[in-house]
């Protein structure tokens, strides 16, 4: 993996949720990667990896392989692809494993940030000191790709390592290993009734009394953001916590603008003070 990063050039593939719900993740990721010295290219067109259709029973592994091959060869046209979504990461890697002749590597943006965390740490100089975070790596990375997934060195997982390198405190919580429920089917069920798994996960995270929730998957981000929003509306949660993708948090630590660059105003649960001038002011009561 380190060898791939030495090439200093990659294509950033955002996936559907970063494109249509949290574009701050896309913009932060691109700006962070550029700040770390990469030339970042964009696909000619973003075409869905196919995971939503796969989990709905509409397409199988063969179609996923064909879709990945078309994406890689005709639209992405680069041999190093970086994504901020566990679902896209898992789908591309499963398909590429079945087609070893493709000679293309798909990395997760969290993996790149983890590999370069010492450099990032030098650049930000403990700017998150005093912030308490809880992390959720996500099942399509931790479990679906468990043979390939990076585990923690300084903390329990790669997100904890990154948060610690930024100077944050990492809190533990009861349901850390539990799924966020993002791939719960069927959608009408999910929309009408909150998934019990999502409820359990979010309640446990909020009870940990963290300042923010750190994730590395846009689907997990959507589920945890949306579940808190709904639970607060139903009177089941007294307080809610912003959910940030790791690219957004690193971006803020590097001094990016919370709205213009990181897009925090697009979240269902926004920071406490979106106009705060310091990163701590965004998440902690003045």
């Amino acid at each position: 993996m380190e060898e791939l990063l030495k090439r200093r050039s990659l294509t950033f593939y955002p996936g559907c949720i970063a494109t249509s719900i949290y574009p701050g993740v896309t913009y932060s990721s691109i700006k962070v990667l550029e700040k770390l010295g990469f030339k970042v290219l964009s696909p000619e067109h973003v075409v869905c990896c196919g995971l939503p259709l796969e989990i709905a029973g509409m397409i199988g592994r063969e179609e996923l392989k064909m879709l990945t091959s078309y994406n890689m060869r005709r639209l992405i046209k680069h041999d190093v692809v970086v994504t901020p979504c566990n679902g896209c990461y898992r789908t591309f890697n499963v398909a590429l494993k079945k087609s070893p002749s493709e000679n293309i590597e798909c990395l997760h943006v969290a993996e790149v940030l983890w590999l370069l965390r010492e450099k990032i740490s030098e650049m930000v100089q403990d700017s998150l000191k005093g912030l308490n975070v809880v992390t959720h790596v996500g099942c399509h990375y931790a479990y679906a790709m468990h043979a390939k997934a990076i585990r923690g060195v300084d903390g329990e997982d790669l997100l904890e390592d990154i948060a610690l390198s930024l100077g944050a405190n990492v809190l533990s919580y009861e349901e850390k290993a539990t799924c966020c429920g993002a791939t719960a089917m069927k959608w009408p069920w999910v929309l009408e009734a909150l998934s019990p798994v999502s409820r359990l996960k979010v309640t446990s995270m909020v009870d940990a009394d963290a300042d923010l929730i750190l994730v590395m998957c846009t689907a997990c981000q959507l589920m945890i953001d949306k579940t808190q929003y709904q639970m607060r509306d139903l009177g089941e949660l007294d307080k809610v916590i912003p959910v940030l993708h790791v690219s957004q948090l690193v971006g803020l630590a590097l001094g990016f603008h919370p709205v213009e660059d990181v897009g925090l105003h697009l979240h269902l649960v926004p920071p406490k003070d979106i106009s705060a001038t310091s990163i701590k002011g965004l998440f902690k009561e003045a």
Partner: protein, 125 residues
């Protein structure tokens, strides 16, 4: 009702009919696969059983939203358009809004994923 990977595998092993609603409770989180002592790819089995149900037209009503997602992918590449004006306004100056796919891309995608999904009830795939 709760999901049990063991119950799914037992049904398959016994050659019983798939448990319809039960199959849709699986989150496909792969946790069972990661800890399975026999390295069984349980999510792949669940997905295959779901495809059988879908191809028999049993799930059309509940999966309508995925037909919309398929249409969106075939036209703009992504499963849903930007969800509101704020997202569109953020995307626009940064060149991040999804564009209509050119016909040659749409034609290729139709070959790979076009026509997939729940069939009308009562019709065999």
């Amino acid at each position: 009702m709760s999901f049990s990977p063991r119950r799914v595998m037992l049904n398959v092993a016994m050659g019983r009919e798939a448990l319809h609603d039960h199959l849709w409770l699986c989150l496909l989180c792969h946790t069972c696969e990661a800890v399975c002592p026999n390295a069984v790819h349980i999510p792949e089995v669940v997905e295959a059983l779901r495809r059988m149900l879908v191809s028999r037209g049993l799930e059309r009503g509940d999966l309508e939203v995925y037909l919309e997602a398929l249409d969106n992918i075939l036209s703009r590449g992504v499963m849903m358009a930007p969800v509101n004006d704020k997202v569109r306004d953020f995307n626009e100056p940064r060149g991040l809004n999804p564009r209509l796919l050119p016909e040659y891309v749409r034609a290729e995608l139709r070959k790979i994923i076009g026509g997939r999904g729940p069939k009308p009830r009562g019709k065999k795939a």
